[in-house]
Amino acid sequence: MDLGPYSGFILASYAISTLIVLALVAWVVLDRRQLERTLHDLASKGVTRRGPATAPAAAKLSSTATDTQE
């Protein structure tokens, strides 16, 4: 296949576009991995996501929490 006298420009366009798309894909994938790891870490420490009623420390919290929550 002959891309003519401007093959450099054509190939550069495709190469740069591929790089940018790959960077986007990498961002999405790495971000997801890191978030899943953090979620896993937090979950393994016994932190739950749903309301405070399920947390084991909640009973104590209600009676002793004098600090203000930001």
Partner: protein, 229 residues
């Protein structure tokens, strides 16, 4: 022997004489509790001792300290501001101060550095170590700021209202830790409204001689009543 000497200190803030003729000395292992009504100059006194406000008159010396270092460089200042960066985790905040502050361990002082994790655990915020400090409550941020005093040993603690934003349990803990610091030959100067049962301690009560004489740039020094506790 470590001994902090203040001789004939006068402080001006914004052209106004806050106080003058203040002299006291403090031995290692002792606490000085500064009391007095609002605006009398308790915070100014602590900031002067911290080297943040130069005294207009008088001298501050530390006997038995490390040579070529000012008294302020032997001191921790625990003021109203926490110096905590919300974007960093609690541990990152603490590790920075551990590495950045130069520790001061003169002979008479036997304080030792506490590991960062242990310091956070000791203050009851070990579970927040890897969380960004933005997630911490006011009381937790305060305790994180307090942890700084343990990871970098320095003999003098300058504490401005140390118990503010702390609950009763944390207050009791803080008192124990302060007492422990005295036991190791440290010294504490604290401005407070709540009575702190530190032993051995002395009270320095700042009081205006006469309200009319308050802006006494050249007149009588304000009377200073020292009550030995």
């Amino acid at each position: 022997m470590l001994k902090l000497l203040a001789e004939n200190i006068a402080i001006d803030r914004g052209g106004r004489r806050v106080f003058s003729g203040l002299s006291f000395d403090l031995d290692a292992g002792h606490a000085l509790i500064v009391t007095g009504q609002n605006g009398i100059g308790k915070s100014s006194l602590l900031r002067t001792l911290a080297g943040l406000v130069p005294p207009t008159e008088g001298t501050l010396r530390l006997q038995g300290g490390e040579t070529e270092r000012s008294p302020a460089e032997h001191a921790h200042y625990f003021g109203h501001q926490s110096a905590v960066k919300p974007a960093l985790t609690a541990l990152e905040n603490l590790e920075f101060w551990r590495d950045f502050l130069q520790p001061a361990r003169p002979q008479a002082f036997s304080g030792f550095p506490v590991a960062t994790d242990a310091a956070l655990e000791m203050l009851g915020i070990g579970h927040t170590a890897r969380l960004p400090a933005a997630y911490l409550s006011a009381g937790q941020t305060r305790r994180l700021a307090l942890a700084r005093l343990f990871v970098c040993p320095r003999p003098i603690w300058l504490m401005d209202e140390p118990t503010s934003a702390l609950d009763t349990a944390s207050e009791a803990l803080l008192l124990t830790l302060m007492q422990d610091h005295l036991t190791h030959g440290g010294m504490i100067l604290t401005a407070t409204h709540t009575p702190l049962a530190l032993r051995p301690s002395r009270t320095l009560h700042l009081e205006a001689a006469d309200p009319a004489d308050m802006p006494s740039a050249d007149g009588e020094p304000d009377s200073l009543e020292e009550i030995y506790g």
